[in-house]
């Protein structure tokens, strides 16, 4: 079992947990992910690592409730435990294996969207600890959904916060903020974008026009996370890649986002049913859709 030593609700439907998993904490690097499974009946859920503490043997995860399994995860309290917690999986971010002096010469910008802020954080933190400057644009739909602003403030060279509705910071999306900075004369030669697929797609569209190489972190449907099932396959530059072993980071200008977004919706009906079952418990069967519990 893997105990939860800290639990915080960061925003509506977004939770942070520190989980004791010494084997994972020992060798994990920014960019890698874990798979968690709440109990016997739960799904295997891939989550990108948000932070780690090698000495305490803990991993920080941040997740948003989207289906039955993540909803049940949100019910867990400090002191409860995950039945399974495996990792680190996938490849570490390319940034950390680059020559540090070369890296220091680069002008790097991160664009984080929604819960994608969590996997951006350890990369920015790592760069900060290694004396590398980088700017961060992070955004969400509205002020109440912003997460990790204070943490990011401490490690980003320049932090630009955006909200789609203008309730906090820059009024607009990450792409609008990047364009605005570019128009002011800012220049970048490396971009890392992590967030919903639709956001990464539009960031890549813009950075392609601007000529800025862009890395994205893909989060498709996965089962085992070790290369065995192929559920997470996606097209990158016309080749089939497995996000779990070849990624999760890829050259964003080569990813076929439209197909990846379609594939991500593959089990939407089943997930909806599982959610209904969870919420209605034994009181309803079949789910009429007219009952409002919340």
């Amino acid at each position: 079992m893997y105990p939860i030593v800290r639990r915080e609700k960061l925003a509506d439907k977004i939770y942070l947990m520190d989980v004791k998993a010494p084997r994972v904490a020992q060798y994990c690097e920014p960019g890698q992910f874990v798979i968690v499974k709440i109990d016997e009946e739960g799904e295997r859920i891939p989550l990108t690592i948000c932070d780690y503490d090698r000495e305490a043997g803990t991993i920080t995860i941040v997740f948003q409730t989207v289906g039955a399994s993540t909803e049940r995860m949100a019910w867990l309290k400090e002191g409860d435990a995950f039945q399974d917690f495996v990792g680190p999986l996938g490849c570490a971010s390319d940034l950390i294996s680059e020559d540090l002096e070369e890296l220091k010469k680069k002008k790097i910008v991160f664009i984080a969207g929604g819960v994608g802020t969590a996997p951006v954080y350890p990369q920015v933190k790592w760069l900060h600890e290694h004396g590398v400057d980088c700017d961060v644009i992070m955004g969400s739909k509205t002020k109440d959904l912003l997460i990790l602003v204070d943490e990011m403030e401490k490690v980003a060279t320049n932090l630009y916060v955006t909200t789609d509705d203008g309730s906090y910071g820059f009024h607009g999306m990450g792409t609008n903020q990047l364009q605005a900075l570019w128009d002011e004369g800012k220049r970048y030669d490396h971009c890392v974008a992590i967030g919903p697929m639709i956001m990464m797609k539009f960031v890549c569209k813009l950075t392609k026009e601007l000529g800025v190489p862009t890395v994205v972190s893909m989060n498709p449907i996965m089962v085992d996370g070790t290369g065995m099932c192929g559920a997470c396959r996606l097209m990158v530059g016309g080749e089939v890649k497995f996000a779990c072993v070849d990624g999760p980071e890829f050259d964003g200008h080569l990813v076929d986002f439209d197909q990846a977004m379609q594939r991500q919706a593959q089990y939407r009906t089943e997930e909806g049913r599982a959610m209904l079952r969870l919420k209605e418990g034994n009181t309803h069967h079949g789910g009429c859709g007219n009952c409002k519990e919340e």
């Binding site: 084997r23 994972v24 070790t226 290369g227 593959q266």
Partner: protein, 460 residues
């Protein structure tokens, strides 16, 4: 009783079992087992033993069954096999022990597999465990993977007194026995979990959720955690696809994904969260045991299922029994046909496949007649799900993170057949990681050989 014929084994009726996940074959009872054991000729120069990759003393255990000494029969099997309840169910006996049985020259061979299964089931039901080593020798050995190769190697080493830890990447021990082979062929809780418990009863520790090459490397295990030898039994790994248009569409799955969702994640049970899609009409591409498993699983989930295989019936690589069972359950075989394109609807979902008819030409390198397309014979079939069951290729996770570990051009780990030794001192390997996808019992044979190899290496 006709001595030329096997005592028939009871099975669930095809129409009934095609709608449930309970075990198809019900096995022998005590009377049936003793009657079948009576057919054994107890040959002095027993050919059956030579046909068994782990060399079970078959005539000796059958002689005990004949007398009703089932516990003694179990201990005889246990000396050679850690997983008799599994092997009795999934070994291709027709080409191994039973294939060599002298009784089978005229009439049917002794039903060795069903007898082995009976003995193992009887022992489990009567709480009989394999015997633990009397003394520990203090040497630490790591085993990577808890599939048939790993469990066998670990069990054999534990019996010799080694301190063995198995590292398993998934959340449950058993490897392909858990994620690959379906419940109706190999019950998970009753059979697999019980045999894993037997291996643990020998003193073997199992650490799940550890991905070697990611969580920790082999070099780190040997340098930092005190393991003096390592056995790699990590299995075959990555699923193959055909490389035809439409393969990325929604509704196209690898057999590995489909079976893992159903078997490991138990998607067929209402109370489990993991979803599975079988659709109304399923095409399974391929003709091996895995294809049969995927097809029969889809059938049980309520679909009409077609197996599309590019060669003919005789060339089907699946066991005869599996093909027979699949047909009985209503799986439709579209033989000598091959998909050339997956047809996709406007929303990105599979709506069918373009299929071309084939004929058999000259034998290829494998000795099988190679299929040749018949020009102009293409036609379209409807389907909402396509399951690709084309075999697997090795996962590079371990070979790419272990210094000095040699692989061949197929990316399989190179290991000596007789003792599993690899190019790296102290590191041994066996099973699908070495041979590419094969059978449970061959992996067990390799695990056994490697246990011997490791014992010799550490006794030097």
């Amino acid at each position: 009783m006709d001595v030329l014929k096997k005592v028939p084994v009871r099975e669930q009726e095809p129409q009934v079992r095609a709608a449930n996940f309970d075990e198809v074959c019900l096995g022998y009872n005590e009377e049936e087992a003793m009657a079948e054991a009576g057919r054994c000729l107890n040959c002095k120069n027993a050919q059956c033993v030579k046909g068994c990759p782990v060399s079970i003393d078959i005539p000796a255990f059958i002689a005990q069954v004949k007398e009703g000494n089932f516990e003694e029969a179990y201990h005889i099997i246990s000396k050679s096999s850690a997983l008799p309840a599994v092997c009795g169910r999934v070994c291709p006996q027709e080409s191994q022990c039973e294939g060599k049985c002298i009784r089978g020259i005229k009439g049917e061979p002794v039903s060795i597999g069903k007898l082995e299964r009976f003995v193992a089931d009887w022992a489990r039901e009567h709480g009989i465990k394999p015997k633990k080593a009397e003394q520990q020798n203090g040497h630490k050995v790591a085993v990577i993977g808890s599939g048939p190769a790993g469990l066998t190697c670990a069990g054999d080493l534990a019996k010799l007194g080694y301190d063995v830890t198995i590292f398993e990447a998934l959340h449950e021990a058993g490897g392909v026995l858990i994620y690959g082979i379906p419940e109706f062929r190999l019950p998970k809780q009753k059979v697999v979990a019980a045999e894993v418990e037997n291996v643990k009863a020998l003193g073997v520790k199992i650490e799940t959720n550890v991905v070697i090459g990611k969580s920790v490397t082999i070099d780190e295990l040997m340098e930092n955690e005190g393991f003096e030898a390592v056995f790699i039994g990590s299995g075959a790994g990555l699923p193959r696809f055909m490389g035809i248009p439409g393969e990325q569409a929604m509704g196209v799955f690898s057999a590995n994904e489909f079976l893992t969702r159903n078997n490991l994640m138990k998607a067929f049970l209402e109370e489990y969260d993991t979803p599975i899609k079988a659709g109304k009409k399923v095409i399974v591409v391929g003709g091996g045991n895995v294809a049969m498993d995927a097809a029969r699983t889809a059938k049980r989930l309520g679909a009409e299922v077609h197996i599309v295989y590019r060669r003919g019936e005789e060339e089907l690589p699946a066991r005869v029994e599996e093909v027979h069972h699949a047909k009985e359950e209503g799986i439709i075989f579209d033989l000598l046909q091959n998909p050339t394109e997956i047809l996709v609807d406007e929303n990105g979902w599979v709506k069918g496949a373009k299929v071309i008819k084939m004929e058999l030409g000259e034998p290829d390198a494998s000795g099988r007649r190679s299929p040749v397309e018949i020009p102009g014979s293409e036609y379209e079939i409807e389907a909402d799900t396509v399951i690709m069951s084309l075999g697997t290729s090795p996962n590079p996770l371990i070979s790419s993170t272990t210094k000095g570990l040699e692989t061949n051009r197929r990316k399989c780990i190179v290991a000596a057949e007789e003792n599993g030794a690899t190019s790296k001192p102290g590191v041994f390997a066996g099973g699908d990681a070495v041979t590419g996808a094969a059978t449970v019992i061959l992996a067990m044979g390799a695990g056994k050989a490697a246990a011997k190899g490791i014992d010799e290496y550490l006794s030097k």
